[in-house]
């Protein structure tokens, strides 16, 4: 079609430019054609092993480097963009159209980046282009959440840049390959740690995760769908390339699978529930990267692939609900299956996929990570992930569809979402089912060579038992009245540190410094007054030397002096 060395982000940036100057159907067709043509080109013409770079001021930026790992994410991002563009077909807002293309292009740029500087450039572009999808909601809350998101994302980029430079200083290389934390040991390897932290922020490591739960639910109905695809998956890709087999990732990943599910159970905003559930799913991937065997790494990237589809599907269904019902609060919704049956059914497909029901996509990838953990002897981590698996079903698999579409009838009578939305969701749902029932198709694309087959009696039976008894627990808890009701409330999280504590401390410091300043000013004023009074009481006061002179008299005396000099000059 076109030259194989053309970096995949280029068509997307051109499409973003065209989206600025075109409108309506023409623009939509351009945006739809971009991932289709780009994806076909990548699939048919581009093979692993291509390297192409450009030189800027004697520095060579490796804009394209293909191998099976980067190609897999490349295919994924094209498919996801295709689906998201259809989902956003009805949107007329130029800001969103342009920024979503720039954002998708930046993700492709990052994934195909061969060196750390190129990665840094696209890392920052991801941040800057995506924030407009939050701001496009055009509310005060979204503006503020977007600002916080931007600060955190840009900081991640700065850490990456600093880390890259230190890494260069140490190793003499900027190529984006295995980085690791081991050599040299400890904080001698500051560069590696900084890069690790930069990836960790975008990956939503514990305590660094609140940008995700803060900003994603504030974005536009369609914007969140784009957001859910790219940033975190680029980060997972980066970890898989830079830090495979880094043991600390296993523990970080296990923590990520477990803690968000508690928040998800008591969260009211269903899109925020999905944001927490996203951290939980990334936890499985991070765990897989940490284990670092071929099976685990394949599991991690396969799960990233599947997560984009089923999490995208769930975010789309909640986007459709937001679009029609005006909110996604569990407390205000219910009974929507009556007006939005298609959305409800498609949401359930997404819910089954994320819960890893056999024949749905989550099952065929999550099980790889679990199997790898047992293989390597991480029994307790495996138990944590098993707990998280039951928890996923509980909060994402049951809670999301139940409170939005069933539960009590909230009396909302609306229409089914506009046609483009169910079409986009159907494509995602079909892919979820296809991958779940034909896992060999996905396995054939995976970067590492390994034999694995998820469907055996043991595995199917144990997973079904786990899930159905989790469902039973949900029913039982509801019947007993033990299930926490959906409430209009928020729950504080690590973000409390910078959204509450830090501002309060800063306010405290400011107001106490203000009162110190006031007191200081007052005491200076009184002592000056006292001094003035003392002087005015002396004999000098009579000579008008100690009183304050008006500016007018000063001007007068200067005029007198100047006049004197002029006169003297004339006479001379």
């Amino acid at each position: 079609m076109w030259m194989t060395e053309l970096p995949p982000f280029v068509p997307f940036f051109i499409a973003a430019l065209l989206a600025l100057i075109t409108r309506g159907r023409t623009r939509n067709l351009i945006l739809l054609a971009t991932p289709v043509l780009g994806g076909l080109h990548l699939w048919l013409d581009v093979s692993p092993g291509i390297v192409s770079s450009v030189s800027i001021m004697e520095y060579s930026l490796e804009l394209m480097r293909t191998d099976r790992l980067s190609l897999l994410f490349g295919y994924l991002f094209h498919i996801a963009t295709f689906i998201a563009v259809i989902f956003a077909w009805h949107v007329r807002d130029t800001t969103q159209k342009v920024s979503s293309m720039l954002y998708a292009g930046s993700a492709l740029g990052a994934v195909f980046a061969g060196d750390l500087i190129t990665l840094f450039i696209f890392w920052e572009l991801l941040a800057v282009s995506s924030v407009f999808l939050v701001w496009a909601r055009r509310s005060e809350r979204a503006l503020r959440a977007g600002m916080r998101y931007l600060v955190i994302q840009v900081s991640s980029g700065l850490l990456l840049l600093a880390g890259a430079l230190l890494h260069y200083d140490q190793t003499g290389s900027l190529s984006f390959d295995y980085i690791g934390l081991e050599v040299p040991a400890g904080f001698e390897n500051l560069g590696g740690w900084l890069i690790f932290l930069a990836f960790g922020i975008k990956c939503a490591f514990p305590f660094l995760h609140n940008w995700l739960t803060d900003a994603y639910p504030e974005a536009t109905p369609t914007g969140t769908v784009f957001l859910s695809v790219f940033t975190t998956k680029v980060a997972v890709y980066a970890l898989a390339r830079g830090f495979p087999g880094t043991e600390i990732l296993i523990y970080i990943g296990a923590a990520m699978t477990c803690f968000p599910i508690f928040f998800a159970v008591i969260e009211n905003d269903l899109r925020r529930v999905l944001a927490y559930s996203m951290i939980n799913q990334i936890g499985f991937m991070v765990c897989g990267v940490g284990v670092g065997t071929a099976l685990a790494l394949n599991g991690a990237v396969a799960h990233a692939f599947n997560d984009v589809l089923f999490k995208g599907l769930l975010f789309m269904s909640m986007g459709a609900v937001l679009y029609r019902a005006g909110n996604t609060n569990g407390s205000d919704l219910g009974g929507l299956y009556k007006s939005m049956p298609k959305t409800a059914a498609l949401c359930i497909v997404g819910a089954c996929s994320i819960s890893a029901f056999p024949l749905f996509s989550g099952f065929v990838s999550k099980s790889m990570v679990m199997a790898a953990l047992i293989e390597q002897g991480y029994d307790y981590i495996w138990i944590m992930l098993l707990f998280a698996s039951a928890g996923v079903f509980h909060h994402a698999g049951i809670k999301i569809p139940y409170f939005a579409f069933f539960a009590k009838d909230a009396g909302i009578r609306t229409h089914e979402a506009p046609d483009n939305m169910p079409i986009a969701m159907s494509i995602a749902a079909i892919l979820c089912l296809f991958i779940g029932s034909h896992p060999q198709t996905l396995y054939a694309l995976l970067p590492w060579e390994v034999e694995y087959w998820p469907y055996d009696t043991t595995h199917v039976l144990s997973q079904l038992q786990l899930l159905f008894f989790s469902a039973l627990a949900f029913v039982w808890l509801n019947k007993q009245g033990l299930y926490p009701p959906e409430l209009h409330a928020i729950n504080i999280d690590a973000e409390w540190l910078y959204r509450k504590l830090l501002p309060e401390v800063a306010n405290g410091v400011y107001s106490s410094s203000q009162s110190v300043r006031r007191r200081l000013a007052l005491s200076t004023k009184t002592s000056l007054k006292d001094a003035a009074k003392t002087i005015s009481d002396t004999r000098f006061a009579r000579l008008h030397l100690a009183t304050s002179w008006p500016t007018g008299s000063m001007v007068f005396w200067i005029a007198v002096i100047l006049g004197f000099f002029l006169l003297a000059d004339v006479i001379h």
């Binding site: 503020r144 599910i261 508690f262 928040f263 159970v265 008591i266 009974g335 299956y337 009556k338 007006s339 047992i374 029994d379 495996w382 138990i383 098993l386 707990f387 039951a390 928890g391 079903f393 509980h394 069933f406 009578r413 055996d456 009696t457 043991t458 039976l461 144990s462 997973q463 079904l464 038992q465 786990l466 899930l467 159905f468 008894f469 989790s470 469902a471 039973l472 627990a473 949900f474 029913v475 039982w476 808890l477 033990l482 299930y483 926490p484 409430l487 209009h488 409330a489 928020i490 729950n491 504080i492 999280d493 959204r499 509450k500 501002p503 309060e504 306010n507």
Partner: protein, 86 residues
Amino acid sequence: MSASDKKKHLFDDPRHVSLLLRVLYVICALLFVLDFVLHRHTKLAWEELTGFYAIFGFVACVTLVLVATQLRRILKRKEDYYDVDD
């Protein structure tokens, strides 16, 4: 509007809800019984326990919800909690 209001929907009838629940109970019972019939290839000692996955799933979810309910007491704030000082 009024037409769709009057229309009877699937779960408006409580019999349908209880039918669904009964189906769930039967499936659960069947799955538990299958543990005696089929042999699971176990790799860990825990797994050998009959009904391990079933019991684990139930207990995990109940624990999750009960702990989360307690956590809510500590973590819950008003919706405008972060907006107050703005």
